[in-house]
Amino acid sequence: MDVALNPASDIPQRDPATVMRLARLGSFHQSRLSFMRILTRRMKREGWTFSRPVFEIDAKGVGHAVYCAHTPDRTYSLVAFAHDLPAEKRSDRVIAEAWDSTFTMFDGVPTAADIERLRANIPLQEAGRVTESELSVSRANRSVRLWDYMVSCLAEGQQPDPAEVAKVGYLMRTTAVYGSGKLGAADREVIAARPECAAPFQIEMLSVFLTRTYVRDLMQHMANLKGGERAVTLAPETARSMGIGNSTGLGMAPFIVNHPMLFNNWISAREEAIARVRNLAAASATDVTLFKGLLVRSAHSAAQWRSEHPIQIEKLQELRQDMAALSAHVEQAELQSDRPWNRLYQWAASNLGVDAQECLASLMLEPYGDLVDDLADTMAHTQTNTFRINGAMSVSRLIGILDDAYGWALDVDWDAKEHCARAWYVSAEKLEPRLGERFEEPIAPYEQPLAPGRDAAALRAALADWAPDDAIAAFLLAHPEHRHTVRRAQVVARAPYAEIRDNTIGSDLLPIDMLRCKLSFFGATHFDPRSDRWVRICMFGNAPYPEDLQSRDADFWPYPNGTVAAS
């Protein structure tokens, strides 16, 4: 692919003041830089192979299986335990104590002794304990209706109706995937130097990718046992359409506030990719054709996206209308010369809602893997020096940072009830992050530091009593309560996308915006809020299975319906 970079590449990354608003972050879409796609591209490029050395599951659906992914250098094994779960115990909440299946990603190939050790711990999840040999721990519950329907169909020799399958889109949904040292597993630092772990969450994504295969195999196994000779094998097209669901609650929302540097690196990578493409002087006919094809498929995906949540229904309606308007515009627009992508983006910014703008921003990157895919390696948090506070910084410099990055927050009346109506806290029960009503529940003493805007405004006010040349070290000695916020401010001074520039404790906060932003970077599609703080998504829907990674497109799979030539 020839890329004609304009020598005067003067379109900068988008302003953080625009990007980091919750309404926009909550409208993000997956892109080439999503973690699932980074993984599938690598698996294909490096020719990973896969095996299933163990599948011992009885007629009740109880037993275990092992799925191995062999990279050029090592093997990762998903160890899956299948359970017979009574319906009354099925809960997606983190407070659940039993699941349909439980999993761990083992670093290497587990021995029989390892399996027995894991069998005593993995089914217990948080109540169990793992070791440095394990890289993640996870669990999944069935979509009961679809599971029963598909097992019955196949057992009776019938193919399930693809339309019925599409209504749910997955047979099981994961309810937590723990990595990075949780429950005694290996810390991220143990694997961070491995090339396949350079991008964030690659082990967790691999775990879900293999889980999808296990779930397909388990469902088929149960249908075969039930139907005997009458049973048929699920049509590959139907299997491929299915992903793994994920049910995500509030726990994920604090993550992007608690990891400002990491969050910055995700956003910054995508923003840099968008800026590179907007700066292209021209586009080839091939690039435009690819873009147009994916735009059609993206509109098709939006048409298939279902939700019963009023907010999401409204957003979907606007997105579908905007996608139609975008498609009509693209049909008549000149897209090959005079910075075509920048012109298209600017047209969208003036004519479409933020959901469609972000969809377009992600779509524009698709023809340009050679130009943007290298940014995947910048998305992890490797800048270990950002934790240290620079105590030599002057008060006036810190004030400048606050005025620039938190300007939106400085004029807010933080004592007004509507601006501080909520408080984030951790429950004593299962240590689950929750969001409560500050003026209705006794939670304020337990508040977590998840309101950077309010805290920055308080810091700014405290600094008013200090001389411009005073060192921050002296200020912090007198005011240790601002230490957390000074650190954040110094991070955002060098990482402009580190901070959500919106109120995270206001009465109108929608935590699902924070969830969608994070999940879009995972590569999730079809966000389906179940409330303002709980969302279901689909992962790896339409992706190749391990056995067809080499024979099918391993890049454009998030866009269903039809195929395009692999890049």
């Binding site: 319906a87 099925r90 809960s91 997606d92 909440r93 983190v94 407070i95 070791t131 440095e132 519950n141 009961v144 209706r145 990075s180 040292g181 949780k182 429950l183 005694g184 290996a186 810390d187 991220r188 630092e189 143990v190 609650g249 509030l250 020096n385 934790f387 240290r388 506070i389 105590g391 030599a392 806290y425 951790v426 429950s427 004593a428 029960e429 240590l431 689950e432 929750r434 969001l435 409560g436 529940e441 939670i443 003493p445 337990y446 921050i472 070290a473 002296a474 912090l476 000695l477 240790p480 309560e481 601002h482 230490r483 957390h484 650190r487 179940r530 409330s531 303002d532 703080r533 709980w534």
Partner: protein, 216 residues
């Protein structure tokens, strides 16, 4: 028991906060415990002891009164976490050859990680000395001269921190796991518990916001 370093850091942060420290100091306390345990040192035990000792004492009583001359607290012994944070904030002083000395420091072992981060910042070796013992670090590695009981004292009458320019020999490198004794772990858990809001029926139902049934 063997823990991942993230587990140790996560619990230490909540424990420090539960012990009444600010969020910012708690974050640094947690990283300090992580750093020490990765070197096989009893960081978890030291934090547990410190939190018990200072429980209920206002933090301004144990922070350095000023950053000039010999550092001392206004009411009793210096907290190694607020003193350590201040050392790191003033790391440039060490680069210019100025020593930092303190009087009456609780659990001096907890000062060492802060000196390590200062060493990383000024790209030099930094030594921390108390009770006839010297710990030298370049930020990542560590060497301890004559490790004995002084390492684990609950209070050092004098402590000094300075850039080290002489040869120090090989430094031990961090491990990927940490050990914390069951007693210290339980103490840290007790302090962490103070940061958790007691669950109510309302918070159970509303706070996490899940749907009514997952059997669909």
């Amino acid at each position: 028991m063997s823990y991942s370093l993230n587990e140790i850091e996560a619990l230490a942060k909540r424990a420090a906060r539960g012990g009444g420290l600010s969020w910012g100091i708690s974050e640094e306390a947690a990283k300090a415990v992580r750093w020490l345990t990765s070197h096989g040192l009893p960081g978890g035990e030291a934090l547990a002891g410190l939190l018990i000792q200072n429980d209920g004492i206002a933090t301004d009583q144990t922070a350095p009164c000023a950053l000039d001359g010999e550092w001392r607290a206004s009411g009793g012994a210096l907290c190694p976490l607020s003193s350590g944070s201040a050392i790191n904030d003033c790391a440039e002083r060490l680069a210019t050859g100025t020593d930092i000395s303190m009087r009456d420091v609780s659990y001096p072992l907890l000062v060492v990680p802060f000196a390590a981060w200062a060493a990383l910042h000024i790209t030099a070796h930094v030594g921390v000395s108390w009770g006839g013992l010297r710990v030298v670090t370049d930020g990542n590695g560590l060497s301890i001269s004559d490790p004995d009981d002084a390492l684990l004292v609950t209070k050092a009458p004098q402590l000094s921190c300075a850039q080290v320019t002489t040869a120090t020999g090989a430094l031990s490198q961090p491990l990927s796991r940490g050990e914390v004794s069951p007693g210290a772990w339980a103490t840290l858990n007790d302090f962490a518990q103070r940061t958790y809001a007691p669950a109510t029926e309302a918070s159970r139902r509303l706070g996490a916001g899940a749907g009514a049934s997952d059997n669909d």
